[in-house]
Subunit: 427 residues, 2 copies
């Protein structure tokens, strides 16, 4: 086997290959031999890594005849894609932890794996060590997945958990996350939801057997989540989480009209299993027709968990290579369209600061009715300057809900739309 | 393929094979054809099941040349074992949901699968639809599992949840569970922990790659859990759960002295992910060296979830059969002894009704010291008739802890040992 990349994850993979060589050989039926490691800077010191294995010529390494499995932990689109394709074309099976590549161009990789009769395993690409892709790909393969709700970004979950636990504001919680190493100096990829969106695309492809790319994912981050939003959720006995949501949208005739794939903050009730996912942990909640509700929980990132996922794939692929038959291939046989966000039905929680006068509720209710949005519950609180109206809707097209909020902003009796949050997980 | 048994699960498997025939064929690459169903009473009406498929001659069915896969959902030891062995000997691959058989004589089945080069899949045998065996068997195969803590019996979890939520006593909660169909008229297998013990044996075999039978499992049920125990846990911000616990016991030299496999009620902190597993849900919490903490959650029983797990196995096995290579076989290459409960280190919570007089704490503390048990925390509460002492220990051999409790019972200043409960999950 060959390793591409030797950063935090790669170094840990090498360490585990050495430390658990006996165990791994027993499970595969033959020893795993590391033929070479492609790196950009071979002179950098890497603890526990034999310098004689290092090479800067990744192209040569992935096509070497004594290499049968290629593990890619470089990340990014290129050169990772070209190297994986070159490896498969010369008969190698591949393992990758590359969520960006799978979310942008998974279809090309899956097609190459099919053509070349190669294994393409990528458990480490979503939710680190949590065995998730294999259950979705294999265990639930005889079932119908209806919906996937995931907390798939540890940084944003840590920030939202701090806001919930300590009443902190977003900026304060972000600074703490950065100080503790949970968030990067430039937190954009996490807090704007890009990381979660890539994972949502991969999950949707697997769950619905249909091609979905990161560009198909509606994405909203958590930078606009306020302490008021979190406090409002608390009053509803709920909690705000950044969710990656993949839903099959029925066509009313027993089939599917398409899929809705999106990342946005949402309120979920505290009794929901996802609500108890604290700190930087990840979890993915799956609703399937026969299996019912399932949840997979664990560490979503980090060198050791990611390396554990890579090793699990490595043992599976090595067994397949020894047996002469690749594992189950990706089957993207459905061609369900990704629906625009406006078409997706969601529910809204809306908190309004209102003038404390008769007729406010009637005026507000009329705006909902005008947009064909049905109200599930309404609560009036406070008096005078502090009068508030809290409205929770039934399901409606997101566009209609957003339009309602816009008209409410212009309503004379509404002083401020204090909080707007989608609601998930309690039907 | 052939089906053995056509009760709740079997009927649901047949229904799904018909309803999802197109999907399943796409995922396998060829249609799944049901050649026959072995039942004891062919004249019973089974909705959606073609009577022409029914036969009472299971022996003939499992060796028919046009059958390549046998699915067993009969349950019990015999005739299930003989039929599965006969099927494998004639080159069939098998799928079973039979936890009793796997826990009592898994070794015989695994050996037959190896000899016959047959697939033996059994996802449905533990925790229903929760994809658990496959992740343990395949995803975590490159990792070192240290400990498995499982809520694997829905009936007892429902009862304990009712006791926690409504302050009900055991008998009251059991009656309610029976009225709702969560508990059987004879609840022994559930409430005495037999069902959980069988699942613990299967989990331990998988997690530690070592043979473990139900007879190796130390088993205590929940019939002696009192409202006082549950209230005591509440005061500790904890909750009482019936746990299946599989632990690797280190030998102090980097290796393993053995495994501890046990089922008993235990207190876990409310912040632990297992604490939020409510009603009749199941969940299995896994601690692995590299992957860290993982949890798998879902419905643990029921026709549809169990059938979903069977179908997942069926697709995998059918793909293997088409590919001509069986999936990864069970590797039970370690021969770790199952340690007796007395040798297992645990922690105790002990609540004592004591005489309200000076020196009680000193006398109690002396008994702990005499048994070499170190106290982690102690709390004195109440006065006079209601004086109580709550002690939580550090880890110690279970035999030493049990001996301490026995001597405390005889201590003059201790009026009653009001509650004794092991403590898990907060180290």
């Amino acid at each position: 086997m060959a390793l591409l990349g030797c950063g935090v994850v790669g170094t840990e993979v090498v360490r585990l290959l050495n430390e658990r060589a006996g165990d791994l050989a027993a499970r595969v039926g033959a020893p795993l031999e590391l033929a070479g490691i492609a790196v950009r800077r071979p002179d950098r010191v890497r603890e526990g890594v034999d310098p004689a294995l290092l090479t800067t010529d990744a192209e040569a390494l992935v096509t070497r005849p004594d290499v049968d499995i290629v593990v890619e932990v470089i990340g990014g689109i290129e050169p990772a894609r070209s190297l994986l394709l070159a490896a498969m074309k010369t008969g190698k099976s591949v393992i990758t932890a590359n969520k960006a590549l799978l979310a942008e161009d998974g279809a090309t990789l899956f097609a190459a794996a099919r053509e070349c009769n190669a294994d393409l395993y990528y458990e480490a690409s979503v939710a680190g060590a949590i065995p998730l892709l294999r259950p979705l790909r294999e265990s639930l393969v005889g079932d119908h997945v209806q919906r996937v709700l995931g907390i798939v970004n540890g940084t944003t979950n840590y920030i939202l958990d701090q806001m919930d636990t300590h009443g902190a504001g977003f900026n304060e919680a972000l600074e703490e996350a950065q100080a503790l190493g949970y968030a990067e100096a430039d937190p954009t990829a996490d807090v704007e939801g890009f990381d979660a969106a890539a994972k949502a695309a991969i999950l949707a492809q697997l769950a619905f057997h249909t091609p979905v790319t990161a560009a198909d994912v509606h994405r909203e981050g958590i930078t606009e989540v306020t302490a008021a939003d979190v406090a409002g959720a608390k009053e509803m006995d709920s909690v705000v989480k950044l969710l990656a949501i993949c839903e099959r949208v029925p066509d009313g005739a027993g089939g599917s009209r398409g899929v809705s794939v999106r990342v946005h903050p949402a309120m979920i009730p505290r009794t929901h299993p996802l609500a108890s996912v604290r700190e930087a942990y990840n979890a993915v909640f799956v609703e399937a027709e026969s299996a019912g509700s399932l949840m997979f929980y664990g560490a979503g990132a980090g060198g050791a968990p990611t390396a554990s996922a890579v090793l699990g794939d490595l043992v599976a692929v090595a067994r397949n290579v020894r047996g002469g038959t690749p594992g189950p291939l990706e089957v993207t046989y459905a061609e369900l369209p990704a629906l625009p966000m406006g078409d997706t039905t969601t529910r809204y929680y809306i908190q309004l600061d209102v003038a404390d006068q008769a007729g406010v509720l009637a005026a507000v209710a009329e705006e909902f009715a005008r947009n064909d949005v049905s109200i599930r519950a309404v609560r009036q609180e406070g008096v005078g300057e502090n009068a508030q109206l809290v409205v929770v809707t039934h399901r409606a097209p997101d566009a209609a809900l957003a339009a309602t909020v816009e008209t409410l902003r212009k309503l004379g009796t509404v002083r401020e739309v204090a909080s707007v949050m989608r609601v998930e997980g309690d039907e």
